[in-house]
């Protein structure tokens, strides 16, 4: 502390400790991976270095006597409606380092959240609601190309062979998070949960550790611009392949795994040397146009004997509907659209907070466009980016998504407190770190249970919501915007979402 640089003084949190309640168990000391707490044996006291605190609450959570509270640093700059606290701090930081500000997790800026401006319809009198505790309630979801028409022979047997489908027991999947950005234990947790739930997890662009090949039936393997860990074996290891074009948190740039996080297992899986930065190119250098994408889609289909659906994931950008239409016509079986609240392990803050569009409007636009073109059946549509609860999911499906990807909420189920330090590789919750001491904080057995609990809870809520809408199968909610109404939205916004104003 003595040698601190005054310019680094502007920190966000303070660890408040009620010494009367401290029993010197040192849980806070061992748990803080940022060096914010230490024990002074001379005085038999625990102190904090507040400037190291990131507000992850690991210490306060583990304190058995609740003697710690993490509070916002009361140090206040003069109030300024234009220069907000974070503007000022970021500026100082950059003046000190000359660097781009990197951050983790999703956009935290107060853009309008459309989920919160949509309400769901319920049955009253004319139509009985359905009680999911007493009646069957179906969430099974098929992702993949659907035939426009089933051909039948004279006996009435169907002769059309269904294209490969991903069969989900509930319309929720775990979104792409690469091995390396999250550690092996988290990958395993997600994989285990997917298997138990009958859903899918996505490897992200970091390859698939050999030890997880056993979860292949519930795995979507990703192929991104860096091609990390991509091999014929890898492509065939999963149930589907996803081409990652973009990511909601950082549209237009590639993935970035800092070298500090590239340890042995990651190096082996990604097929890169230990300690090197794994920086994916901004574009796929073999995809400069939609025709090139088509070539890659078919190359991957060839490589997997047309047995696996191919997904293409894009960030939600202004022209997302037209892009999605192109992707559908390029032969993709699934399109994943990742809105700007989607998380990331590392992204320039300027990009994360200012580029892309919300998932809500992106899904509405894409679904509508594909319908207008009569090709909605050719692809499944997966919404991603910022799903916080089951009602967000219900609304996304009513807007037109077939299923959703969740990642931030999955990590939160595992312990994440959204401290946005993923890029530093010191995650105190043991999630976005490969440090052996920290990684073991995620016990896949426990974490998988929590993930399963979360998805069960959400699925049950979705069933309840379907029931109150008088619907007993999720497919009858898909694109059923009739059951949504907008509250507090302008006419243009309603139009973008394709929904009516409440009361009409």
């Amino acid at each position: 502390m003595l040698y601190k640089n005054p310019y680094n003084h502007y920190f966000d949190y303070v660890v408040q400790r009620d010494i009367d309640k401290c029993i010197r168990c040192k849980a806070c000391v061992t748990q803080c991976s940022y060096g914010a707490n230490y024990y002074d044996a001379d005085r038999d006291l625990i102190y904090s270095l507040d400037h190291n605190c990131v507000g992850c609450m690991r210490c306060s959570t583990f304190c058995p006597t609740d003697c710690i509270s993490i509070v916002r640093n009361p140090d206040a700059f003069r109030l300024n409606a234009n220069w907000k606290d974070h503007n000022i701090k970021d500026l100082y930081k950059q003046a000190g380092t000359g660097g781009i500000i990197i951050t983790g997790m999703g956009n935290d800026k107060p853009f309008t959240n459309y989920w919160e401006h949509m309400v769901v319809d319920a049955c009253q009198v004319t139509n009985p609601s359905i009680d999911p505790l007493r009646e069957p309630m179906e969430l099974k979801t098929f992702l993949g190309r659907k035939p426009d028409k089933l051909e039948m022979n004279k006996n009435g047997d169907i002769t059309t062979k269904l294209a490969p489908q991903l069969i989900l027991e509930t319309p929720i999947m775990f979104s792409a998070m690469s091995y390396g950005s999250i550690n092996y234990n988290v990958c395993e947790s997600v994989a285990r949960a997917s298997k138990e739930l009958g859903i899918f997890w996505n490897t992200g662009e970091g390859g698939l550790p050999k030890a997880l090949y056993g979860y292949g039936k519930n795995t979507i393997v990703q192929c991104a611009s860096g091609r990390f860990g991509v091999s014929p074996e890898y492509l065939n290891a999963g149930a589907a392949i996803e081409i990652k074009i973009g990511q909601g948190a950082k549209p237009g740039i590639g993935g970035h795994l800092p070298g500090e996080k590239v340890l042995e297992g990651i190096s082996e899986t990604r097929m890169i040397p230990v300690g090197t930065d794994a920086i994916s190119p901004a574009p796929h250098h073999d995809i400069y146009s939609i025709e090139d994408l088509k070539q890659l889609i078919y190359a991957l289909k060839e490589a997997t004997r047309y047995e696996k659906p191919i997904s293409v994931k894009i960030a939600a950008v202004h022209n997302v509907a037209a892009i999605a239409s192109g992707i559908a016509r390029a032969g993709a079986d699934i399109i994943a659209v990742d809105g700007f609240r989607g998380g990331t392990g590392a992204a320039p803050k300027a990009i994360r907070d200012n580029v892309g569009i919300p998932t809500e409007v992106a899904i509405a636009a894409v679904d509508e466009r594909l319908r207008q073109e009569g090709i909605r059946n050719e692809v499944s549509l997966v919404a991603a980016g910022g799903f916080r609860n089951s009602s967000d999911i219900i609304k996304a499906i009513a807007l037109g998504a077939d299923a959703v990807y969740i990642a931030t909420s999955a990590l939160m189920a595992v312990g994440c407190t959204l401290c946005q330090q993923c890029h530093r590789g010191r995650c105190a919750w043991g999630i976005t770190t490969n440090d052996p001491e920290l990684s073991k904080r995620v016990n896949p057995e426990l974490a998988a249970e929590r993930l399963v609990n979360l998805i069960h809870a959400w699925s049950n809520e979705i069933k309840e919501m379907l029931g109150l809408m008088g619907i007993n199968s999720i497919e009858s909610l898909k694109g059923n915007r009739d059951r949504l109404r907008g509250v507090g939205l302008s006419e243009v916004e309603l139009q973008a979402l394709g929904i009516k104003q409440a009361g009409i």
Partner: protein, 367 residues
């Protein structure tokens, strides 16, 4: 009446009574029969909509498409007739005969047109001809203000409007019609005032639908059929069922039974337990036509040139009863309505949830 929906997702729904009678031998049943059957369930409706479909109504024009058009404004007739004349060959046009009665105030105008496809078309290409008719129906409904196509099938007459079943029957002189298949519907709309176009049956080509219930999946179904050019303009969910059936059966080539199992698919848990062949069959149907499945409570009767289909939703949230005696089969919301026309039926039963009842004309009854 504000007819045009302000947004594309409107629908109306309610409780209803429905009835259907078929003589499998193809013999004509008097129009009064369906009227008395339906009138026995008068309390299922509230006077805001009743209607009838009569298959075999126009033996003299049986090979022409019979297009019934409702005009809320006399000015709409000209563009409709212009359209029909331009796109089709108009064989015969006349107003639908009605009787002015006290119970029916301010009715719209009804005309019927018997038309043929233009000579330029290949008469054997039935699909193309049907598509043309459908397109014209959609065009009129959507584009021409105050004009609505009530029916468009061959040898089919549809008579519907705002009023109790007996009043509507009197207004349209139902006693003057007879047919081998008759459908009737009495309506109890709850959300919007009834209007003439919103009364059942809903039809497209030979398909006519009467419906009791509410299509909770309406938004999904509507947006699905819209991908194939159908326009849902009549402000009620029942309309979409007609289009779905037309789509599934005529365009997608499904059998009636297959189409019924798309509308009310088996539960996945039941599919799981099926033998592999059946399992694949139902899985393919459900997966491919997921957007066509109907959710919510419903009992529907669908008439077509060769018979009738009765279908309930998957958990049977609306009544549907079948009765038969000899070649006569009646299906209705209530047993009383059946006994009205078949006083001593051989058999009366309630079909299971999602179980389609398909009654077709006997082989020798087809002309």
């Amino acid at each position: 009446m504000g007819i045009k929906s302000s947004t594309p997702y409107g629908k109306d729904f309610g409780g209803c009574g429905l009835a259907g009678i078929i003589d499998r031998s193809g013999k004509s049943v008097a129009g009064n029969m369906i009227v008395s059957s339906l009138t026995s369930m008068k309390d299922r409706g509230n006077g805001l909509g009743s209607g009838y479909a009569v298959y075999g109504a126009y033996p003299e024009f049986k090979d022409n498409f019979g297009v019934h058009v409702m005009y809320n404004d006399a000015g709409a007739r000209e563009p409709v007739e212009q359209l029909l004349k331009t796109k089709l060959k108009l064989v015969h046009a006349e107003p639908v005969p009605v009787k002015k009665i006290h119970a029916i105030a301010d009715p719209p105008e009804f005309w019927r047109y018997f038309v043929d496809p233009p000579d330029s078309m290949d008469k054997t290409d039935e699909d193309a001809i049907d598509d043309l008719i459908v397109n014209i129906v959609m065009d009129i409904n959507e584009r021409i203000d105050n004009a609505y196509v009530v029916s468009s099938g061959k040898n089919l007459g549809v008579f519907k409007g705002v009023g109790h079943p007996d009043a509507i029957a009197e207004f349209f002189k139902m006693q003057d019609y007879s047919g081998y298949l008759l459908l009737g519907h009495t309506r109890f709309p709850t959300n919007t005032p009834g209007w003439w176009g919103g009364a059942h049956p809903f039809t497209i080509l030979d398909w006519s639908i009467v419906h009791n219930g509410e299509i909770s999946s309406y938004g999904t179904n509507k947006r699905y059929v819209e991908m194939f050019g159908y326009k849902c303009t009549l402000l009620t969910d029942t309309e979409v069922v007609a289009y779905l059936l037309d789509l599934l059966i005529r365009k997608k080539g499904l059998s009636l039974a297959a189409a019924a199992s798309v509308l009310a698919p088996p539960f996945w848990k039941d599919i799981e337990d099926m033998d592999p062949h059946k399992k694949d069959y139902y899985t393919a149907l459900r997966v491919s036509y997921a957007n066509a499945s109907l959710n919510g409570p419903f009992a529907i009767l669908m008439g077509f040139d060769n018979g009738i289909l009765g279908l309930n939703d998957r958990i049977k949230l609306r009544p549907l009863i079948v009765g038969k005696k000899g070649d006569i089969v009646a299906i209705a919301s209530e047993e009383s309505a059946i006994r009205e026309v078949i006083p001593e039926p051989d058999d009366v039963w309630a079909p299971k949830a999602g179980e389609p009842i398909i009654v077709t004309l006997k082989e020798d009854a087809k002309q």
